[in-house]
Symmetry: C2
């Protein structure tokens, strides 16, 4: 075994999730327990923390507080959306990163994020290799969007999917209490891939979810949409619709950003999001009661409704990255490989070269989407259901969340 001794740095990057801190805990715990890793440093605000030399000594945190991380939403050390330049054109950042790595004798670098973050991770890996600095670089996947290439699914998705399905089931009850009908439109995140919005179909599968689900994988047509809504409303006296924020017209224009709308032909900036816009269009056309609901940040930080499967897998992804790196692996991202044993789902850990996953997007297979683009087929439901299973034992104080409180002692 190729033993390499030194410090590690880990960073959290991109939009947060309910369980990204579970991966952090997987990394921290495993790194603290590894004889090869001499010091565990957490970067404040992702790669920015490396560039700014703002690093926290995780070994000086209270172990009990660290153990709360899996149940604490959002990025405990802070995150960033910082894109590294092409090192051929501008290697300033890379030189600085190397300087910091040398300063702290960093031999392990773990980066937890989505597509863009894997690009960062890949570039750092290639640079360190090029300059001959011995450092093992591993990517740990994370994104509620579930659009990372090469992995069956991403940590963060299962919890967001569970939140969306549960919330749709609850809103369904509420949106059907009056005998006067209503059109209810719920807006869900996902700019380019519809995985999150599709999770609303889990609720429909239990008879208490959206009648219509629109994804960015297909082309949105406003007239067809209005016809669909009217048809359901005529038949049932109500209509419940889930839309992805990324639905777009045939020319690629996002419906949320299209200049013209039913209310304002002057091109004024419109307040409110897509749900409010569509609600307005439906109201103008059908003259019925309409309500637009935007799930907003709630869908990615609702740790109280996380999937225990997701929490566990997020932890395993972080721990596996450390174990593999200590064993000699580098330049890889952790991936999940779905398996079934006697019909029961489980998840195997694998690895893919960073270069293969960086900057790629995975969308919902078109044959998992209903031919008319208004819902999901059984294979999707079978795919998502195992990911939302299990209720975590939350840490509560007086029935309110008790999240991890880190001391964040500078290294």
């Amino acid at each position: 075994m190729d033993q390499l001794k030194g410090a590690c740095i880990f960073g959290q990057s991109g939009g947060p999730t309910s369980v990204i801190n579970s991966s952090a805990y997987g990394i921290i715990r495993s790194a603290l327990d590894s004889p090869c890793i001499t010091r565990v440093l957490g970067a404040a605000y992702g790669i920015k923390g490396v560039l700014n030399d703002t690093l926290y000594d995780m070994g000086r945190e209270d172990p009990e507080e660290l153990a709360r991380l899996p149940y604490t939403p959002a990025s405990a050390l802070g995150s960033c959306r910082y894109k590294l330049a092409d090192p051929e054109k501008d290697d300033t950042d890379y030189k600085r990163i190397l300087e910091i790595f040398k300063k702290y004798d960093v031999r392990y670098f773990f980066y937890n994020g989505g597509n863009d973050s894997m690009d960062t991770c890949n570039k750092i890996s290639k640079y360190m290799n090029k300059v001959g600095y011995d450092c093992r670089v591993m990517g740990v996947p994370k994104t509620i969007d579930n659009d990372l290439w090469g992995t069956d699914h991403c940590p963060g998705y299962g919890s967001a999917a569970k939140y969306i399905a549960t919330t749709c089931m609850e809103v369904y009850q509420d949106a059907h209490v009056y005998d006067s009908g209503m059109v209810c439109i719920i807006e869900i995140m996902g700019r380019h891939a519809g995985w999150l919005t599709a999770a609303a179909a889990l609720a429909s599968n239990y008879g208490a979810g959206p009648d219509l689900v629109y994804l960015p994988e297909t082309v949105f047509d406003m007239d067809r949409f209005l016809e669909d809504v009217e048809a359901v409303y005529r038949k049932t006296g109500n209509c419940f619709v889930a839309v992805s924020e990324g639905i777009h017209y045939a020319d690629g224009t996002f419906v949320s950003e299209a200049k013209t709308s039913a209310t304002d032909g002057f091109g004024h900036a419109q307040l409110g999001g897509l749900a409010a816009r569509l609600a307005d269009v439906v109201k103008q056309r059908m003259h019925v009661k309409v309500r637009g609901i935007e799930l907003n940040l709630l869908q990615r930080c609702a740790a109280h409704l996380a999937s225990q499967t997701d929490i566990t897998e997020a932890y395993r992804a972080g721990a596996a990255a450390v174990k593999a790196a200590v064993s000699g692996m580098t330049d890889r991202m952790v991936i999940f490989q779905r398996q079934y044993q006697e019909g029961n789902y489980f998840c195997r850990i694998g690895f893919l070269p960073l270069e293969e996953v960086a900057n790629k997007e995975k969308k919902i297979p078109l044959d998992w989407i209903k031919a008319d683009g208004t819902g999901l087929e059984l294979p999707f439901l079978e795919y998502v259901l195992p990911l939302v299973q299990g209720e975590p034992e939350l840490s509560l104080e007086e029935s309110l969340p008790r999240f991890a409180m880190l001391k964040k002692i500078r290294a």
Copy 2:
């Protein structure tokens, strides 16, 4: 004891809550178990179900499904916002109600709702008394708004308060992940009373909630608001604000409905709600990242995050109404009386004449609100904390909610 034998009708009225069905179960279970009550009828869509003779025979429901009602959000039998006319001017509806009461030999009427519903209940009670029809009429309180007069608090409020506090704590984590600051504005229900919005201060009390909380009990001033936000942002690099949908200017105009706004002086109908509006005003002034979040229906139907205290008290309110009526009481609404035994909160049941509670509103005492109108004082926190306690054992199937499914067999 004044024994009166006959059927009972109960109805659910006004906006639903997470626990209104728990009160329904308290009524149904107690009525089914009472030897005096010969038949338990549930009205479809509140008083409309009586007027339309759409009544369900609750005795024919599966007891196991009925037992799921306390964990099923929204009004299981449907609700309405129907205002009965002044019987002196138009007694058509009253004659019809009497006709239905006679048809089914109804001797007990239980109505579960808020201010307006207590008005309905009161009018029916007085009419039956006037025409000499022997029927005991009881009101059961319900409203997330917590604005019913005469009771310490209302069933429904505790669960909504818990949802709001928990959600604010989660959003707080998410809204602080980047080193680039953000102003986050969260809009909470409550047109005239700020009880719901005030619950956000519970999160602040744990160091993870809104910096500023604006209630309809005080006058809103846009300039002062912008100064407040800027001051917090300058000091901390972030600002998290909770606003009640009912905040209004000195002349009484709701901020959400004021015609002029920073973006649109043409008086066009604005899409989106108050949070989107305020976010826009802040953005125009401060040129920083801003996000508006509207909790919308989610705050009143999130049964997965209900307070067990609230569920239990809602049940007790329904059961107490039946017990009291069977014992001879009529023309009263159930109220809660707060007690402390060795420092521990508990809730006694009392009764008030319907006339005293109908159409009145209870607001937050002004001395519970910070003098500058941007937050809550300790007495409010001490008031609300006991109401959010306890986690229900939810009925789940494959980790998703399994709500009551009633057969709704017509009487």
